[in-house]
Symmetry: D3
Subunit: 195 residues, 6 copies
């Protein structure tokens, strides 16, 4: 078996190597092949002839996600893993429900700008600019308001209303990535942590 794997990779590299390199797609779309999605980073296309409307469809954003975080939010992310038609198209969305005082804690999307529409409630939203300024850019927003968090900056939202809040988010990548600052800092060696 191991021999076959090596043989296959060898054949693959001999015949198929140097794959990459195009800016902008080479076809109408490239629906991610879900049967082959063992790992979330795949970019393989489903046979275009077998593509159907449901490859571009996802249902259920009218209800909150059923996973509650310790900071009081429920996040339903619709990225390429949930909606294979998003593959190569550079966009994804999410719904976040905020409990009373619920917080989406400081985090970074390294590969996406976030544009938030507040469907219901009131949020304190903001981000911090980079060195050397480190300015806080923040304000409170209400139902129907939109706020933009530029890619790569630390940002947050906090429910400051007296009821739950619900937001819809657009993200400028099929796979925005997430650096939770607290989780990352806790992972650092004690010797370089700030006190």
């Amino acid at each position: 078996m191991a021999k076959n794997i090596i043989l296959m990779c060898l054949i693959f590299t001999l015949f198929c190597s140097g794959l990459a390199v195009e800016v902008g797609p080479l076809q109408d779309f490239c629906v991610a092949d879900s049967t082959s999605m063992v790992m979330p980073s795949g970019l393989m296309c489903k046979n275009p002839m077998q593509v159907e409307a449901n490859d571009f469809y996802y249902g259920g954003l009218n209800i909150p996600s059923n996973k509650t975080t310790p900071t009081g939010i429920n996040v339903a992310l619709v990225d390429v893993d949930q909606l294979p038609g998003l593959n190569t198209l550079g966009i994804s969305m999410a719904r976040i429900d905020y409990a009373l005082d619920g917080i989406n804690p400081p985090h970074i999307h390294p590969r996406a700008t976030e544009m938030l529409v507040l469907i219901e409630g009131s949020l304190h939203v903001g981000f911090v600019t980079s060195n050397p300024q480190n300015r806080l850019i923040s304000r409170v927003i209400h139902t129907g308001d939109v706020f933009v968090f530029p890619a790569g900056l630390i940002h947050f939202q906090r429910n400051v209303g007296n009821r739950i809040a619900v937001a819809l988010l657009s993200l400028s990548s099929q796979n925005p990535g997430l650096l939770n600052i607290r989780d990352a800092v806790e992972t650092l060696p004690e010797s370089v942590k700030f006190k």
Copy 2:
């Protein structure tokens, strides 16, 4: 002096605007300088020191746009013209309200994929693939459903429910562009129009 500055920016935008486009910024953000926005294609940055939270804010998506089209929809677009902080960030949003039988007629966004979340109602949504297949990829969606329209393809939405429908749209460009097929075809010379 102030007059001259405005005049120069005006001249600059009139003669020199629409310079370029971002693939990966060179700074945290580049808020479009609204005082110089004589033309909608400008990409000049506001002085970062004068940037404030409201540059990333837009209010009012909780109510329909007050412009009704002949086909029975109201569109409120939030792109870089309404929200200068979107400049160079590759994303925009819109709210569409559909009257009974309201239609968002066949059109193309040449520079953006569209991801639609149906907030309320029922829509027939779809797009047509390119030559030589020309397949119709369509279905009916309901409240809470999401559908994706790949960039550059002719697509449409039609209200097929028995009440109004409301959708929020994400678009993968700060300035998606719009080709209305009917308007474009009517503009064509008679000699090349198809009957």
Copy 3:
């Protein structure tokens, strides 16, 4: 067999996933491997050691294509399918022969600007700008004239001379794509078609 396919895809994803991501090539060239070209979208490279001059060669543009369309044109396209050396290089060409009154009907190349050189004859050529202007930009051109059709806009050519016309076209993609407006409109549901 099905098991093997799944196994192979699994192995492939385990060992080879996350392929993408470079802007600008990583080698001199990446000739498309024609033995594996079951589908036209492939981007695999032939072993560079086995690349030869004929991988960069195509013959026969001195004669018209032998396929005549209903609108009176013959198109010979030289893209990556005919010339595997074009893979990843962002360019292709075509020859079009126009019968008397022959029309290249309104269409879009979603991924390429088109630059036309008229080798012989006279053509009415043009394109329509996007909303809200919908301006017709057109003129008649003659032997030796060049005209540019920007990517993503509806454009056309019509033979307005008293003999055949012949044009050579450059396209800024290895795979420009084609949306024939009439074919696409006919594919649309009756309910959203314009009358």
Copy 4:
């Protein structure tokens, strides 16, 4: 006033020109503003309302350029300097006429792949791959043949027929650039020149 505008644009181009480059436009097109084109690298857009068909037009490729080089070729280049509508669109073309034994000597286009269609005659064409292989990829082509020279590699053409030859070239940049190897080598200090 008009004088000042021109002066300002002149100053702007002298001091600030060559700003950037497109990867995906933010509008339909960006016709280079020819009144401000003091330097060839400008990318400023003409006011879209004043754009007309002739901005996308160039005449005269049916006749050879009237400048003959010492190596026996005449080159007529149609890039953004001759055809302002090419600005930001990533393509240009050229016509080359080869006298008997005329040579397009070894050179590099650092920013463009070249696709050559031989309209008439016979050429020996080829390029050299990079280190460590340094393979010569070459062949003789005849009327109607197409050959591709990948971006960034040293390539050449030589007339090997018994009459003149004429070629049309597509180049995958609005401004392909040119490194003539002989001219560059002669510019080098004697101490690093190879003998």
Copy 5:
């Protein structure tokens, strides 16, 4: 006149700077015009005819920077502000001197991968992967060792030898950006800070 030119460039940079970014230049190079560099984000080109060798030169990396940080390092950054010839070329470098126990504290370069060569000494180096894994990837390196920190991830270095350490760094952007995690976290509102 000269005063006016400087004034105009100043106004231009104050109001219009930070325009865009290169993916593939349109000329050989675009040396940043230092007379107009009121703000660090400018991308205007010096007149190519006036470019000289010193535009591509910077001296003094053989000695440490004279600014010592509270965490015991001295950083000399050579980016486009110090070396105008780097403009649009996508690379910069730095020298860091680490005192005994000196720390380059946890930070992110949002626009650049960092490749470090240790000229002298011993460092503990590492980075943290993104959610949900949050793995620490770290090791100790010694004189002559190289380590890579992927763009957008939190990383650090700490002097763990018994003498000073000196490193040279390559960064894959002319303007890598810097998010110091401690500084950013301190800027956050108390209500969303983690305890």
Copy 6:
């Protein structure tokens, strides 16, 4: 066997074709899978769970490479072949040792700008601009000096001190490529060589 290869490629193309297309990575990193690296151009990712610190590490740049060229330099290149963690990250480095009068002869990196730090000694460094100017941009540099060679231009270094010289180089690609002008010119057919 041959049948199996074809079958595999067929299966691969049916299920996995159309791979390409993203600008900017879709994950934290994509360490090149060294077990499958039969050819140097591969871009396959190692399973992220098995990635470890040593994938981002390379040792030994404190000593010269042991391969001396005929022109008197020793080059140790650290690109994606030596350091698999560099895959997709757009950067590499090298150490060059120059003997007395040692020359790094005229060459081009088609895919990378080079930024050189002189650790020790004195070098004459320079490059030639493109047609029609063909200007020599050169100077002598000493210990601690930095010089930049823009991507795609012919450049060189020569030891002009009275001892050995040592330089560290940053290159803005994981795989910069190398065109040695002398080797390429010698490969050209005699008929197009310049005398």
